[in-house]
């Protein structure tokens, strides 16, 4: 991006496009060019630990799946010689005439997602990085662990390629470190260190691994469980310490010196040391900010606010991912969905403009036709043909029953090959097409499109994978690969004989939403949907909107939440596209994505039925009331309160503030009562401690904690609190603090072990403040009503932690806020925006398209046992009472995911899967059996 001019909805972006020297439309990613390219190049993708060639692809899954040429290294582009790749490339994709292009794009909005940068080498040098080859960064170690990495996933030392026996991780390298001006916590390093350590142990169970850390910040959903697993199951050691340095030791080893809390100095020998490097701002952050005219914060990350975490300082420009602040993959994915949603709301007038709807010839009715199969076997250049004997495979295919046409093609996916296929379908009246080539996962849609163009139903197609799963993996055994290709084609043809045309169904969508919960998450989701132009009904069980935030005045970073919340509530009330039902409850939900029907009980007891297309779960959470704290029952004392109660007292006018406070963290969370970290309590404690210190500087504040989890920018406040004299003392589960009632009913004595003094201390504070944690609300009832899963901790369980973080497995149901897991305000807002963005997708489309591979119930054979209904994970089968008053199952096609669990369990074989019928699979198995005679 060179420049951005204009205003929201009408920007002109000037963009420089560097040449790839390869036409991505022609490149088939076969990799032949890399094999022939004579020059070596250090492989940047593998962190410089491996070699590649100037013509290469970074990794097999890269998008676009096209190679490119590094102009700095290519012999032709630097020395004007070579060009060997040009004749080598069979698809003639190499194009040295490409030049740098300057393009002007007319856009309505911009999303900035440049990711994160590197911690400077000078910071790493403190731990011997650059001086000793066996001190590596976590990014380098990640590549070492990877099967496509420099040593094919073997963990080897860099110095002499031996298997290390002892491995150390050093946390907080370049994070929580004012030495390199990174006063923030990078939030992700504890978790990735645990992951890398566990993967390394899976590779080599003998490996002895120690992680040196200051605080284990595994605050995310189910992250604590992962740490526990690392410790108990994998035997990974965790040592709370500050590492002083890493020095050479003997001939090969390393000596790691560290100090522990009690002031002791120790050292340990290791074979390899991994530095858990933090996430720095992108190297070109300043330049990006200047080009786009957006503000950065003091660490050069994008500056945003808690209520609008993705809005940059310039209207119409949004940010997503680590550039907004260090974060992990699930949060980055959530942010990207949210940013896309906000941007698309800005462009909603243009929605659908410029669409061209493709037309197809009328579908041929093949009902009365005999089975006529055409088999096309692909050479894929030399990718298949170089190993598998394609001509003999083609001949073999020609000899099979019902095969009336067969041929070879060089690239069956090429445009001209599609024309040939269409022509042959017509010429030979083919009514089943089998393509033996690459993977249906990548190419099935392309060929199905060709079938439709030729007037055939797209289901009349079967793909046989003789490249990815044959020629590529048996490159040294051409004869065996050829036999395997024949077997697979025979099985494919057997399946194809039984294919029936299947109709694609579309189901119309009611373009309205229901949001359960009227806290910040629910209101944000409703407002975001309103901006997209969709009507939303908010169902709130309390008498007022606002939820948990009503009890809070500001965030730890000082954002005034009271005012903004008030404005938000007003905005929701005024919004024409939002209906608010308070003191209301969801009684029943029926239907499926696009066509839900919900019964809602209103404040006056009246029951209303609402039709809607999607549902967002924003039911929130509440302060936990622990049964036991620190393994004991709580003493009955007015001097014991919660953080939230303290916040109310601190904000009340004219109240006398306490002179001494002991805060107890994890008083409920992390194993005492709740099995998880509540993520926000450490921030809450630090915020309250600072407020108290500000209002009553004489007050003594002691915070007893296990791991202080002020991740991200909150780390600054933790430092500030320490500077203000707040005393932070860690405890562990072997020596929990004890609360005792003292004489008078009101007073409480707190006894704890001080690791610095090395002895037990008793204090008698005015107040003991408990960080009690957060529990979800109402999730169990809704889980049964909507048939959506919840975790063991009763939070809603998303469809996929990383890939679908705000969607539920049941289509058309989304989740955000505390109902998903405990989280602070900014993360709640983003998640709500993301849920709204995802929920808007079916509403925008106006219909739900159903892949015809869904399940189908044979009404005659169904005995109405209901087993399928209870087993279906997607709520996609219902029991209906038919005219003869007998119960029968029926598939809700719009919800079906084609998994086939119903079909495999039906006791009367009444359920069949489109394209994967019992008959088809049986024929495949029988065809497999026939190959026995061929002898391998």
């Amino acid at each position: 991006m060179l420049a951005l001019e204009g205003k929201p909805g009408n920007f002109t972006a000037k963009v420089k496009v560097r040449p790839r020297y390869i036409d991505p439309d022609k490149c088939t990613a076969c990799g032949l060019c890399t094999q022939y390219c004579p020059r070596h190049l250090v492989d940047g993708y593998n962190e410089g630990l491996a070699l590649t060639r100037p013509i290469h692809i970074d990794y097999p899954q890269a998008v676009p799946a096209s190679y490119y040429i590094d102009p700095e290294a290519c012999l032709y582009l630097t020395e004007n010689t070579c060009k060997i790749c040009v004749p080598v490339c069979r698809s003639r994709a190499i194009d040295f005439t490409q030049v740098e292009k300057i393009e002007e794009l007319q856009v309505g909005a911009v999303v900035v997602a440049p990711g994160f940068g590197r911690v400077p080498d000078s910071t790493l040098a403190k731990y011997g990085y650059g001086q000793h080859p066996d001190v590596v960064t976590s990014l380098e170690f990640e590549r070492l662990l990877n099967p496509s990495g420099p040593y094919q996933g073997q963990v080897l030392t860099m110095s002499d390629r031996r298997h290390p026996k002892r491995l150390a991780f050093i946390q907080c390298v370049g994070s929580r470190d004012l030495g390199c001006d990174n006063g923030y916590c990078s939030s992700v390093c504890c978790m990735y260190a645990i992951k890398e350590a566990m993967v390394a142990k899976e590779h080599d169970p003998e490996l002895d691994i120690t992680i040196y850390y200051m605080d284990m910040r595994t605050q995310g959903k189910d992250f604590d469980a992962a740490q526990k697993r690392a410790e108990s199951q994998f035997g990974i050691k965790f040592v709370r310490a500050k590492v002083a340095d890493v020095m050479p030791w003997g001939k090969k080893g390393l000596k790691l010196t560290y100090s522990t809390l009690d002031g002791g100095h120790h050292f340990e020998p290791f074979d390899m040391v991994v530095l858990s490097v933090g996430l720095d701002s992108p190297k070109d952050a300043q330049a990006i900010a200047q080009t786009l005219d957006i503000e950065l914060n003091k660490y050069d990350f994008c500056d945003t606010s808690a209520f609008a975490p993705l809005n940059t300082s310039r209207e119409g420009i949004f940010v997503a991912g680590a550039f907004q602040g260090p974060k992990d993959i699930p949060e980055s994915v959530t942010q990207s969905s949210a940013a896309a949603g906000i941007a698309s709301a800005l462009l909603k007038q243009q929605r659908g403009a410029g669409y061209v709807i493709k037309s197809y010839p009328e579908e041929r009715d093949i009902k009365d036709e005999e089975v006529r199969i055409g088999v096309f076997t692909c050479h894929c250049g030399i990718n298949i043909g170089g190993v598998v004997n394609v001509p003999s495979v083609d001949q073999y295919a020609g000899g099979m029953e019902n095969v009336v046409y067969h041929s070879e093609s060089l690239y069956s996916c090429s445009q001209d090959a599609q024309e040939v296929i269409k022509q042959k379908i017509k010429e030979h009246k083919l009514n089943r097409v089998v393509i033996a080539a690459c993977s249906p996962r990548t190419h099935e849609p392309l060929f199905q499109e060709t079938l439709k163009d030729a007037g055939l139903n797209r289901s009349l197609f079967e793909m046989v994978n003789i490249r990815d799963q044959c020629s590529w993996v048996h490159a040294q055994e051409p004869e065996a690969a050829t036999r395997k290709a024949m077997d697979l084609i025979r099985m494919g043809v057997a399946k194809a004989r039984g294919i029936k045309p299947l109709t694609e169904q579309t189901v119309p969508v009611t373009a309205k939403a229901v949001v359960i919960g009227g806290g910040v998450a629910g209101m944000t989701a409703a407002l975001t949907l309103a901006e997209q132009g969709f009507h939303t009904t908010i169902v709130e069980k309390e008498a007022a909107l606002g939820g948990n935030l009503l009890a809070i005045k500001k965030t730890i970073l000082g954002v005034d939440t009271e005012k903004t919340l008030k404005a938000m509530i007003e905005q929701v009330k005024k919004a024409k596209l939002i209906t608010v039902c308070t003191q209301a409850e969801l009684l029943d939900v029926s239907g499926f994505v696009g066509n839900f029907s919900s019964v809602i009980r209103l404040a006056n007891g009246q029951e209303n039925t609402i039709d809607h297309g999607v549902i967002i779960l924003a039911t929130g959470g509440k302060e936990h009331t622990p049964k036991t704290v620190l393994g004991k029952e709580l003493p009955d004392s007015e001097a014991i309160i919660t953080q939230r109660e303290l916040e109310t007292r601190l904000n009340a006018k004219g109240k006398k503030l306490p002179d001494s406070v002991v805060m107890v963290q994890c008083a409920g969370s992390r194993g005492d009562d709740l099995n998880y970290c509540s993520k926000v309590c450490c921030n809450h404690a630090v915020k309250n401690a600072l407020t108290l210190k500000e209002k009553n500087p004489q007050a003594q504040v002691i915070v007893l904690y296990r791991d202080l989890r002020t991740y991200g920018y909150a780390e600054e406040k933790y430092r500030e609190a320490r500077e203000q004299g707040v005393i932070f003392i860690p405890y562990n589960l072997d020596a929990k603090p004890e609360l005792d009632q003292k004489g008078k009913a009101k007073a409480v004595a707190v006894r704890f072990f001080d690791p610095i003094l090395g002895e037990e201390v008793t204090v008698n504070p005015d107040l003991v403040v408990l960080s009690v944690g957060i529990v979800p609300q109402g999730s169990e009832v809704l889980s049964k009503l909507l048939k959506v899963p919840i975790t063991a901790d009763k939070f809603f369980l998303e469809a996929h932690v990383k890939l679908r973080p705000v969607e539920m497995p049941v289509d058309g149901v989304y989740v955000c806020g505390l109902a998903h897991s405990p989280k602070p305000l900014d993360e709640t807002v983003v998640q709500a925006q993301a849920a709204a963005a995802k929920a808007a997708m079916p509403l925008v489309k106006g219909m739900v398209k159903v892949d015809p591979i869904v399940s189908h119930v044979d009404k005659e054979a169904c005995i109405g046992c209901g087993l399928c209904v209870s087993l279906c994970p997607y709520k996609a089968i219902q029991m209906l009472t038919s005219e003869d008053k007998k119960k029968r199952a029926e598939t809700i096609v719009a919800s079906c995911k084609a998994c086939g669990i119903c079909a495999s369990h039906c006791p009367t074989f009444a359920i069949s899967m489109g394209g994967f019928t019992n008959e088809q699979i049986f024929s495949q198995i029988e065809a497999f059996g026939k190959s026995i005679e061929d002898k391998l």
């Binding site: 590529w472 086939g900 497999f928």
Partner: protein, 69 residues
């Protein structure tokens, strides 16, 4: 070429479209080499796998059944 005396099993695999089949594709992309004894049937989920399919595979002469999901 294998010798006649050597056990050369024929294995029938049922691969889930979303995970194991995708992984088998990725193995190809990375050019991992493995013995050519496996013949696969793609299903949309191993939930589709009726025990009858396993029996049928064994009856048809498979020496082993592989499921990946």
């Amino acid at each position: 070429m294998s010798q006649a005396s050597e056990f050369n099993p024929r294995i029938l695999g049922f691969l889930c479209n979303w995970c194991c089949y995708a992984a088998a594709d990725a193995a190809g992309v990375s050019r991992y080499q493995y013995p050519p004894n496996l013949r696969t049937i793609r299903v949309m989920c191993t939930g589709r796998l009726d025990p009858v399919f396993v029996m049928k595979g064994l009856i048809e002469g498979a020496d082993g059944i592989f499921t990946g999901g």
